[in-house]
Amino acid sequence: MVMSIEKFSFTYAGASAPSLKNINMEIAKNKITSLIGPSGCGKSTLLRSMNRIHDLYPGNKYDGKIKLLNEDSGKMENILDIKKENDFINLRQKVGMIFQKPTPFPMSIFDNIAYGLKIAGIKNKTEIADRVEQALKDGALYKEVHDRLNKSAMGLSGGQQQRLCIARAVAVKPEILLFDEPTSALDPISTAAIEELIVELKKDVSIAIVTHNMQQASRISVYTAFMYLGDLVEFDKTENIFLNPKEKQTEDYITGRFG
């Protein structure tokens, strides 16, 4: 287990009711955990709490605990206690994020990946070059772009851009990667490539993925959380969720009766 979410609630700035209520779940080490549920159920909100990207906008309220494993000390540390800028940088380098729409930075392919490394404080040019190359290989993109690393990343196709974003996140060697519907803006072929890549990545990182696509969840994840209206309805092994759900709501959603 690399992350443990305990009695977690979340309220958006200005909202009267919480968007997430009393969530308890875990992210298992080197496994893929899916978050599924109908639109507005809070799965993205939960995912975005795991690296506190919500803090970009002021006034949101967290309750409960989200504990992240400190690999050095072996202790679980509550990320909701983080207040200092440096600790945030640290947290986000440990817990990376991939978005629904590809988000290449308006710079070269090389610089896109070097960006996170420079923020991490790496100054040695050969080390940066080596790690950029390795990250592109990890992102299954190196073969396609190795001869145009200095070209703008904006010229890549959507699927390539998304793999670049994954490579960019992998480059800083995170412990957890959060995927927020990473394939919903892509065609089936790019989707398959990304899925394959995610499965490949789990040998190095633990993965949480929000998806609307239930086949995707069943194909790639070991654990699945089903959420509905801000509640975590059921959290179990993926096969149990899909083949033998305990809750009626889960069954109704899986079988397509609502959602």
Partner: protein
């Protein structure tokens, strides 16, 4: 019936467009004929005192340039504040004020600078003219920066934050870079706007017949001199005013076209 209305409206809008464009064409043609008639390359070599325009063109650019040096960074920082940091009523008030300032009559800005600089310092100066133009430019740059930054998707900011970058680094390294072309175009258009202004300079810098770099004295201005020359009785002065108008129009046109060219290349 509906087809008929359709045709009438089409005809009316075509007619209006033609009238508008007709006048524009008329202005340009008159300007070209009168301007080219009195245009000569020696105009670029002599100062106004010797019947040329050299000092006026240089003076106009110096004042606009100083205005840009002040107005562009100030406006950009203000625009960045409004879009990236400003929240709630305070920011909205500033945004509205800036919008109002953008439509403020330029002669009012000239009068304002006259009151706060020209009177206390005892006379018109290039410095006062530059301040006047900077005030003209500021709201345009604020507005452009604000708008162009608003076109940058919020996911791009989040992606930067998610890599561990701090907010100011995300803004400088990623957001501004993504909006760079739009902001640059806006700045060029703002520059084109102030380079052709007369009213803010009329009683702040006035103009001068001589070449000077002394910003504490009345400063040569192409636009103000056009106004002066056009009012003089001699034919030769008015010809010079036409030539100056022609040069000014071509300059503004060039800056505008450059701005549009940059935008078009970006959209490709």
């Amino acid at each position: 019936m509906r087809l008929l209305i359709n045709k009438i409206i089409l005809a009316l809008s075509t007619l209006s467009a033609l009238i508008g464009l007709g006048f524009l064409g008329w202005i340009l043609i008159t300007l070209f004929i009168k301007g080219l008639g009195s245009f000569h390359f020696s105009l670029f070599l002599n100062d106004l005192i010797d019947g040329g325009l050299r000092n006026l063109i240089i003076g106009q650019f110096i004042m606009a340039g100083i205005a840009g040096l002040v107005g562009i960074p100030l406006g950009m920082v203000a625009g960045i504040y409004l879009r990236e940091y400003g929240r709630g009523r305070y920011a909205n008030t500033i945004r509205n004020l800036s919008d109002i300032m953008m439509s403020a009559p330029s002669i009012v800005i000239g009068a304002f600078v006259y009151a706060i600089i020209v009177i206390p310092t005892g006379g018109t100066s290039g410095f006062a003219g530059a301040v006047s133009l900077a005030i003209m430019m500021l709201p345009i740059v604020i507005n452009t920066t604000d708008n162009m930054l608003s076109l940058v998707p919020k996911e791009l900011r989040e992606a930067g934050i998610a890599l561990g970058a701090s907010k100011y680094k995300v803004i400088i390294d990623i957001v501004i870079r993504a909006a760079k072309v739009g902001i640059m175009t806006g700045i060029l258009l703002a520059f084109a706007r102030i380079i052709g202004e007369t009213a803010p300079l009329l009683f702040t810098s006035e103009t001068s017949n001589y070449f000077t770099m002394d910003l504490t004295q009345s400063f040569p201005s192409l636009t103000v001199s056009i106004y002066d020359l056009a009012n003089e009785p001699e034919e030769s002065s008015r010809d010079l005013a036409w030539a100056a108008s022609f040069i000014l129009t071509v300059l503004v046109l060039c800056i505008n076209l450059t701005g549009r060219f940059i935008t078009r290349n970006k959209n490709k």
